[in-house]
């Protein structure tokens, strides 16, 4: 109640009205300050020092304080402040280190009152005591703060920060004796004005210079600081240790901070460089400014709230030589333009999607999702009823879509990763082993690939045609899902259509996932599917029952078109289609796997000379063993690329490792690196650390190989003097003692050192192992019951 009363009295006789307006100054401004009655503003800079009165809809120049024959450096202001008790009193800080006071009540043209030339370097800040008329404080580049009594000629006391330049000084609004000072080295100090010998408290607030600080007008313990590290921090000074309670990350160094009157959590900031806008933040919502003023064309150098108790008017001066009055009504509110949406996949195929509540609800009305939408969870932020500003409110909804258990399961990935053999045996064995692993998991296509690789690379010259036929036959009989209409193709190989279906069976899990959970994805897909005859909305209206037809059409059409090309070129456009829809598995695979298929195709479509030649050669090579395995490299490469594109980077990487030099040069380094990193990333998400390490070790990419050589340093401290041992691990430079002695043999350990975490005794790995086999006590005789696991 009391506060309200004060507001009305303060504003009572002098209601503030106005609009967003500006005026041109003659020169860039460095700082601005307002008179207590909010009717006048002073602007100071290197070449300007003027007072403007703030009228209803314009600024009017009242007084130019830069007088005299020759412009002196005393006029070159770094900062200006208007006394909040005495409206005739002003103080400026000059770049040459002089502190000047001005008395507007003087009859002469020159209003300069007093000159304090005590600072050796530029004065960065001046500040009047909020309640004491004659007390002025200054902070300078030379590292000193000085307190002046305006009735005396010299400073009353000098405070030495004992460190670098002072960037800002501010009297506490509530504590009569306290002021805060911020420094170039990142520190903030609190001083008692009566004790110039030593600061009361010091803490490091920022990394790099702290450019500004501001005490909260209502909450006595809060201090906001802004630094070059682009942060605004709010400190609670009530506790014994200053505690950071809020932190706002901005996009540029923070030059000024000013609490917004009457709004407990709002603070205005402007930046030192690059960014010209003024932001008003709600410190509880540090990611997006609650209001933004974008008028200035160059960096804003000074901001000030027009009236102590009015939160709607902000004045600002800038390097672009303008003075602005901003009205809150006209502020742009980034939150209106922001589209708060988030989308993330989990490891097991679940999808989480968060968006504005309004968006979600309207969207689901329009088009219900198909598939398994399981757990829509809604979060809503309750509005603070005491908060009077409505624009900080927002609510969003989070929906989580789970895939059904069997289709979303990634067990096959884990099993495969664990069971694959990648090295240490002849290629043929590796391939056979891996084929078996794949087949056991019902991944016939991958199994087939392994078998083919074996045939291509290791059994060349030894494989009899019977053997080959056998393997193919085996592959095709294990197909889990077949459509009747293509059965006749299977004995001679795998018809493209049947293969399609089979592949669809395998990848159905993914399809469902995609279709049901996110129309967004489909939309994108759709745009890329040029050349397909399928109408766009057909793809979108993905109803379960239509799927078969859809995919058939989708793939037959481009397929037919592509076959005009010769074989090597064909691979690329086709793959492009495959990217568009994950169900399009196996066109390429067909060719790599089985010459029969290609032969079939060759018969059915136009026969360009190149194609027929190559196809015939393939068949020949397999049966008559005339071609070197290099011949197949492009096909194998395409196979791998295809698997990777399809998302099965596991197969791609495994094949890459197993084949080693045979295929490596076919694929460019970057792609390989990309595969490796993706696979390793996946393995690590599944916590298959050993396997990921094995893959890293087996990889031939330099970038990957050095992954497990990074950050292998172990920093240790000397056990005697407790200081870090820099040079060698076993002898301390300082105390010249051998630090790590083996508790068993009493010799220095220069290799693997094993120690007990309980009693910190230890020694050679072998010795400790041996010791603990026979005894359960610590070998050092400390009585601890050590354990070795």
């Amino acid at each position: 109640m009391e506060k309200m009363a004060r507001v009305t009295t303060a504003l009572g006789g002098n209601t503030i009205t106005g609009r967003t307006m500006f005026c041109h100054l003659d020169a860039p401004a460095n700082a601005i300050s307002v008179c207590r009655d909010a009717a006048q503003v002073v602007v100071a800079g290197r070449n300007i020092f003027k007072i403007y009165s703030i009228e209803e809809d314009q600024f009017v120049e009242k007084l130019n304080l830069r007088v005299g024959r020759k412009p002196s450096l005393n006029f070159s202001c770094a900062d200006v402040v208007w006394h909040q008790m005495d409206e005739n009193l002003l103080a400026t800080a000059a770049t040459n280190g002089v502190v000047v006071t001005w008395n507007l009540g003087k009859p002469s043209r020159n209003k300069q009152d007093q000159l304090f030339t005590e600072h050796k370097r530029t004065v960065n800040k001046v500040c009047f005591h909020p309640t004491e008329v004659y007390m002025l404080l200054s902070g300078s580049q030379d590292g000193y703060m000085k307190c002046f009594d305006l009735r005396k000629k010299d400073s009353v006391s000098t405070f030495s920060g004992q460190s670098e330049s002072v960037r800002d000084v501010q009297f506490s609004i509530r504590d009569y004796f306290t002021f805060a000072a911020t420094f170039e080295n990142g520190n903030v100090q609190l001083w008692d004005i009566r004790r110039p010998d030593r600061y009361e408290r010091m803490f490091t607030a920022h990394n790099g210079p702290v450019f500004c600080c501001d005490w909260h007008p209502e909450d006595r313990g809060w201090l906001a600081t802004g630094g070059r590290d682009k942060m605004v921090k709010v400190w609670d000074m009530n506790t014994t240790r200053a505690k950071e309670i809020y932190c706002v990350q901005t996009i540029a160094s923070v030059a000024r901070v000013k609490w917004r009157p009457e709004c407990k959590h709002h603070i205005a900031t402007c930046s030192m460089m690059v960014d010209h806008n003024i932001y008003v933040w709600d410190v509880r919502r540090p990611f997006i400014p609650s209001a933004m003023f974008e008028e200035h064309k160059d960096v804003t150098t000074g901001i000030v709230w027009r009236h102590l108790h009015d939160p709607y008017f902000l004045l600002s001066g800038s390097k672009d030589s303008t003075l602005y009055q901003h009205i809150f009504k006209d502020a742009s509110q980034p939150i209106d333009r922001a589209n708060p949406e988030g989308l993330c996949y989990s490891l097991y195929g679940d999808l989480a999607f968060a968006a504005k509540e309004s968006l979600i609800s309207s969207d689901s009305n329009r088009k219900p999702y198909i598939g398994d939408r399981r757990h829509p969870i809604f979060f809503k932020r309750k509005l603070d009823p005491t908060e009077q500003f409505e624009y900080i409110s927002s609510s969003s909804a989070l929906s989580v879509f789970e895939t059904d258990v069997e289709s979303g399961s990634m067990d096959w990935f884990v099993h495969t990763a664990k069971q694959y053999a990648l090295a240490g045996r002849p290629l043929a064995e590796l391939c056979d082993h891996n084929a078996k692993v794949a087949k056991d998991l019902d991944r016939n296509q991958v199994a087939q690939t392994w078998t083919m690789l074996r045939i291509i690379y290791s059994s060349l010259g030894t494989v009899s045609s019977a053997n080959l036929n056998h393997s193919i036959g085996k592959g095709s009989t294990t197909l889990p899902l077949m459509n009747s209409f293509n059965l006749k193709d299977i004995p001679s190989g795998l018809g493209s259509e049947s293969r399609l279906d089979r592949s669809k069976g395998e990848s159905r899990t993914e399809n469902i996932l995609m279709d049901s959970s996110s129309t967004l994805i489909n939309n994108e897909d759709n745009e890329e599917t040029e050349g397909s005859d399928v109408p766009a909305d057909y793809l979108l209206g993905d109803v379960e029952g239509d799927e078969d037809d859809l995919y058939m059409m989708d793939h037959e059409n481009p397929h037919a078109e592509e076959q005009e090309y010769s074989l090597p070129q064909e691979a690329f456009p086709l793959r492009h289609e495959i990217v568009d829809n994950p169900s399009a598995l196996d066109h390429l695979q067909d060719k790599a796997d089985s010459p029969h298929v290609s032969g079939n195709e060759a018969e059915t479509v136009s026969l360009t000379p190149v194609e027929s030649f190559s196809l015939i050669s393939i068949s020949h090579s397999l049966y008559e063993n005339r071609l070197p395995s290099d011949f197949f490299n492009p096909i194998v490469r395409d196979t791998l690329l295809f698997y990777a594109e399809q998302g099965d980077v596991q197969t791609a990487v495994s094949v890459l490792i197993v084949l080693g030099d045979r295929i490596r040069k076919e694929i460019d380094e970057q792609t390989q690196e990309h595969w490796y990193t993706s696979y390793i990333d996946l393995l690590q998400r599944f916590q298959l650390w050993n396997i990921s390490n094995e893959v890293i070790k087996l990889s031939t990419c330099r970038a990957i190989n050095c992954l497990n050589q990074a950050s292998t340093t172990l920093h240790i401290n000397c056990s005697n003097c407790k200081r870090p041992m820099s040079n060698r691990g076993w002898i301390c430079d300082r105390c010249r003692q051998c630090a790590s002695m083996c508790a068993v043999c009493h010799h220095v350990v220069k290799g693997l050192f094993v120690w007990c975490q309980g009693c910190s005794h230890g020694g050679h790995l072998q010795h400790i192992m041996k010791w603990l086999e026979t005894s359960s006590h610590c070998p050092a005789g400390c009585g601890h019951l050590c354990e070795y696991t």
Partner: protein
């Protein structure tokens, strides 16, 4: 229980003494540059740099550098006199040349070549020609600037200005480089290029200022011009440096000490200097710097074509901006665009990390002191250091409002001013005589200290001009 591998130290490096890593390397059959008799600098006797029993911190530093770069070059050897600075310098240079950044590696080295060539510094040009080829640069580019891609060629103008008259850089220059087109620069690339250019311009100052000798492997090759072309190149001829100088030299030190004391007292007592006087003092210092131009301005005849080929318009050089009868460009007010506030903020936005390292480097060099002057200990040298720093900025037209330029006159004797101005503005004209003539009774390490201040002050000055132009372009 935990298992840990103890750190171990390679025996080859452990026996390092001064130039020792070379020895260690050879033991292991690696081809190493061999230590020649004359040492890393033509001005400073070898013993001075390779004092037996170098402190362990410095040794460690050299070892680290050797491990990371494969060699310890002569620059590092000389800078090693100030290990605290060297580590900071190294970190920055490493980031600039070898860490992630917007520019590809070979272009970075090519830019270094271009920058060094502006000052005809064959040492740096040679060094980076090697590096350029090592990172896979196209050898054809080394035939000259005309063979480089147009994108790099377009950097020539700004290179020229930065090297000699940085105050002429305007936002139009920046605009021209950034305007969209086939050979345009991105802002981040440009900032890295600017840092590289200024780094190598000022490093060239250091090379000439300390008379750095060519590396052993460069020796005899065509790429090496002796750094001091003007006569007396006999190494370590003992004309008074660091040794038993004449009485004059002794007195010099005393006079300097007295003056510093005097200034300090006068500062405490009277503040009677008017602002106008301060302003005129700066102007005076500026114009006076005209007079301290080196007397022996030789035509650049000894230029070798392999350096010259990276230079267009070789006649363009430093020109005093206060020459009579010309419109002087407006003085750069240090307070309006400071490194700490504006330069850092801008650079950190466009090329992160480097801002932090440069900031550290500037701070280290500005605050570096051993509290000694010649044979005196426990002296506060901040005044002297500030005078040198501000004088360098002064010759590039940067003025500090809060500095009394009368101090420069008091503290820096004429021979020192000549040396500073020469090394900062046209380093290729530095001679050994200049080096020996100033501060005759001071230690070599102190003269290197002066060179470090010079290097960094020059770099900051040029960088400030360049960044100001970028800022103006962006607003």
């Amino acid at each position: 229980m935990l298992v840990a591998g103890s750190q171990c130290c390679s025996p080859g490096l452990a026996e390092y003494r001064g130039c020792g890593p070379l020895r260690g390397g050879e033991d292991r059959g690696i081809k190493m540059p061999r230590q020649l008799g004359r040492g890393p600098s033509a001005f400073i006797p070898v013993e001075e740099i390779l004092r037996e029993g170098v402190e362990s911190s410095r040794r460690q530093l050299f070892i680290d550098a050797f491990v990371s770069a494969g060699k310890v070059d002569n620059i590092a050897m000389v800078m090693g006199l100030h290990p605290q600075y060297l580590s900071s310098f190294w970190k920055t240079q490493y980031l600039l040349l070898r860490m992630d950044g917007p520019l590809p590696y070979h272009k970075r080295h090519y830019i270094a070549i271009m920058a060094a060539a502006r000052h005809q510094c064959s040492y740096l040009v040679g060094l980076h020609m090697g590096e350029f080829l090592q990172v896979g640069g196209n050898p054809a580019w080394l035939q000259g600037l005309h063979c480089a891609p147009p994108k790099l060629r377009s950097l020539n103008e700004i290179n020229k200005l930065l090297a000699h008259r940085p105050w002429l850089i305007t936002k139009e220059h920046i605009e021209a480089l950034l305007k969209t087109g086939e050979n345009s620069w991105s802002l981040a690339e440009l900032v890295q290029a600017l840092v590289l250019l200024t780094h190598y311009h000022s490093l060239a100052s250091f090379v000439f200022g300390c008379g750095i000798n060519p590396e052993a492997e460069q020796d005899g090759g065509p790429g090496c011009r002796p750094p001091s072309p003007h006569g007396d190149s006999s190494p370590a001829s003992d004309d008074g440096v660091g040794g038993s100088g004449g009485k004059d030299a002794m007195r010099e030190v005393e006079v300097l000490m007295e003056r510093m004391q005097l200034l300090r007292e006068s500062q405490l007592e009277e503040e009677g200097v008017t602002q106008e006087e301060m302003a005129t003092r700066f102007e005076l210092e500026k114009t006076e710097s005209l007079l301290v131009a080196p007397s022996d301005i030789a035509a650049p005849t000894s230029l070798q074509s392999n350096v010259l080929c990276f230079v267009e318009d070789p006649e363009f050089g430093y020109k005093d901006f206060t020459r009579r009868g010309e419109q002087a460009p407006p003085t750069f007010r240090a307070q309006d665009y400071t490194w700490e506030d504006h330069g850092y903020s801008l650079i950190n936005r466009l090329y992160p990390d480097v801002g932090q390292l440069l900031d550290e480097k500037f701070q280290v060099v500005y605050n570096l002191t051993y509290n000694t002057i010649a044979m005196h200990c426990g002296v506060d040298t901040s005044m002297l250091r500030r005078a040198i720093w501000n004088y360098v900025h002064c010759v590039f037209g940067i003025r500090y409002d809060d500095y009394d330029y009368g101090e420069v006159n008091q503290l820096l004797e004429r021979s020192l001013k000549v040396y500073i101005k020469t090394v900062a503005c046209y380093p290729e004209k530095t001679t050994k005589r200049m080096y020996t003539q100033f501060w005759r009774h001071f230690k070599h390490s102190e003269k290197v200290h002066v060179n470090l201040l010079l290097l960094e002050a020059r770099m900051q000055a040029a960088l400030l001009y360049a960044l100001r132009a970028v800022t103006r372009y962006m607003t």
